[in-house]
Symmetry: C2
Subunit: 338 residues, 2 copies
DNA sequence: GTCTGGCACTCACCGGGCACGAGTGCCAGA
DNA sequence: TCTGGCACTCGTGCCCGGTGAGTGCCAGAC
């Protein structure tokens, strides 16, 4: 077990390294922090911390830098979540309040998060399966062609073309629309399959083909869109540590382009509470030099999606976590209002 | 006026420089191209080309590289558009054919273009004002709350909340919906304002408030969304020439994040035919080291939006232009089919 | 036991000096 | 008008020694 002071030394190392981006030595540490001991003592502590794998030397005769394990300990035991200042909170609220639709909410959230944390922001669109149905619309476009539109309580809209096996009358379409809506409005999308299961049977023989075609498109949409959508922003922030990673930036950009990877990343985050994945804790290789701070957000108690940031392992964890949490809360509020 | 051979020398310089990324000297030129003259002669030609401002030396005793003006001449006079190979064409078609909705079409297009050109791809969503109305839907959500949904012939969907001054009955909403649609379906969005101008007058006094509220939201949406949306991809390709611009990459990423800038960029492109903007020809400072190749695409003869790529001025213009043109054509086809 | 000051050692970094070679401009001659 | 030759420039790579931050270890103090 590490003594109190050694933990203090680790904290000091993390803080200094995050600030200066340079390996930190024993002398500098004692000068910048009131540890109450001499550099020699700190050196002994550092040697112990290195033995335990919390810090490392880039090369002999250089200062120490935290390892992933060191950051882990720092995040778990040594760092709190730094709350935002009240001007910051007000700025968030003002900025998000101006949004006109869901795309705008998500877009603004991404920009906000990127700006606050000065890192790459990732925001997932509210999940379909966790949202509830606000309305299902069926629009006749041609005799045997219908457009299916799904609207969620979070403002998300999905549409699909449906080619029906036979021409559909305006009346039977209205009938289907009415019955469909009466069953599913207000229910969660995840429950829709069950709710509509026996719907075709209640129709006349001649309409059943159309009904099942429409329903199967509806169910397909739910499945397809379970691979959720997301928006990213602030990639220019990656260049801030271009001297850190001159070439490491490439795999990160590549990973960010593969939305599947990011969705998996966010998916791995806990549903409630904040998740921090540090360096090699990320399964994806390209992100081995980065940390991911993610949190769920939602209009009610339940998380409908997640958001977070991707940055260098050498990041200001307390500040980043504070910003991520605050933004998630406000977005939740905005969604609940709309 | 430049002699035929000097133009040939310029072409050779551009080709070599694009291939090797290194300043090209007179000796190397004569070795790699059949110019039929000695290095000394080429040197004279190069001196002349430099006097005219088509090429430059990074420093004394280095080879020459093309200037923006040199690339301009190359694109205008010396280079054709390189058509894609037929396997490439097939691949494009197959890839785009799998798209399920507009978002998917645009997403696939971006990925495709980025992959083909190995550069950053930018695709604008079909413009609202240039599209035609497929359907306008009004959904009652609460007594005095209506959701307005616009659907275009290109598959784009926009929705807005409308808070009405007084409760609306299902009947009067249906009435409005019917009359609205009969006026605007099949017409261009740009013409909608005129078409609905006198609509409120034809309603009973009690409904006029609601009608005008709905209409003004509709018109607002048209205005707001005229600042079009777009999608970008392939930013990881920027790292390919990270030794070219170690720090120049940052302003480019920043410019790419500002969609307004990109939209202006695409907006400046000619409606028909391909537009190539080279280096300093781009108004935005961050893009002074890049070239933009853009072209309009559409479901019919008319362009409904634009797409293009952003890359280093040192790019393979014939190949890039070929890819951009081909992709634009196929996307147009896909949109026309849907 | 724990902390401290001292001391020798290691190495990354920096700047200077130097050789190399690609590339140029110019000139005289074909 | 083209060509070969020649002197010149200057960026690049390499070696080398000095500097200094930082370390590990040890003997002595509290």
């Amino acid at each position: 077990m590490l003594s109190e002071r050694r933990l203090e030394v680790l904290r000091a190392i993390v803080q200094d390294y995050v600030g200066t981006e340079e390996p930190v030595g024993s002398k500098a540490l004692t000068e910048r922090h009131r540890l109450g001991v001499s550099p020699a003592t700190v050196r002994n502590d550092m040697a112990a911390l290195e033995d335990e794998g919390f810090i490392a030397q880039p090369h002999t005769s250089a200062g120490r830098i935290p390892t992933d394990k060191g950051y882990r300990l720092f995040v778990d035991k040594l760092a709190g979540v730094k709350p935002l200042s009240s001007p910051e909170r007000r700025a968030i609220q003002n900025f998000l309040d101006g949004a006109v639709d869901l795309d705008d909410v998500v877009g603004r959230t991404v920009r906000l998060l990127a700006q606050l944390t000065r890192q790459v922001a990732v925001v997932q669109y509210p999940s379909l399966t966790r949202s509830t149905v606000r309305h299902v619309e069926l629009l006749p476009l041609a005799p045997a062609r219908v457009m299916l539109v799904l609207i969620t309580d979070t403002g998300r809209v999905e549409q699909r073309m449906v080619d029906c096996p036979s021409p559909v009358t305006e009346d039977s379409l209205a009938d289907l629309r009415a019955r469909l809506n009466s069953r599913v409005v207000g229910r969660r999308f995840a429950d829709v399959p069950q709710l509509v299961q026996d719907l075709p049977e209640s129709f006349e023989q001649e309409d059943r083909g159309t009904v099942s075609t429409v329903l199967s498109t509806l169910l397909e949409t739910l499945v397809e869109e379970t691979e959720e959508r997301l928006m990213i922003g602030g990639t220019a922030n990656l260049t801030r540590f271009v001297h850190d990673f001159p070439l490491t930036i490439r795999p990160v950009l590549e990973a960010l382009e593969e939305h599947v990877v990011l969705l998996k990343l966010l998916g791995e985050a806990k549903d409630s509470g904040m998740t921090v994945r540090i360096g090699h804790e990320n399964a994806h290789e390209g992100l081995n030099a980065t940390s991911v701070v993610a949190v769920g957000y939602g209009s009610g108690d339940e998380a409908v999606a997640k958001l977070g940031v991707v940055g260098p392992t050498r990041m200001d964890y307390p500040g980043t976590m504070g910003a991520v949490r605050a933004v998630a809360r406000y977005v939740g509020q905005i969604l609940a209002e709309s």
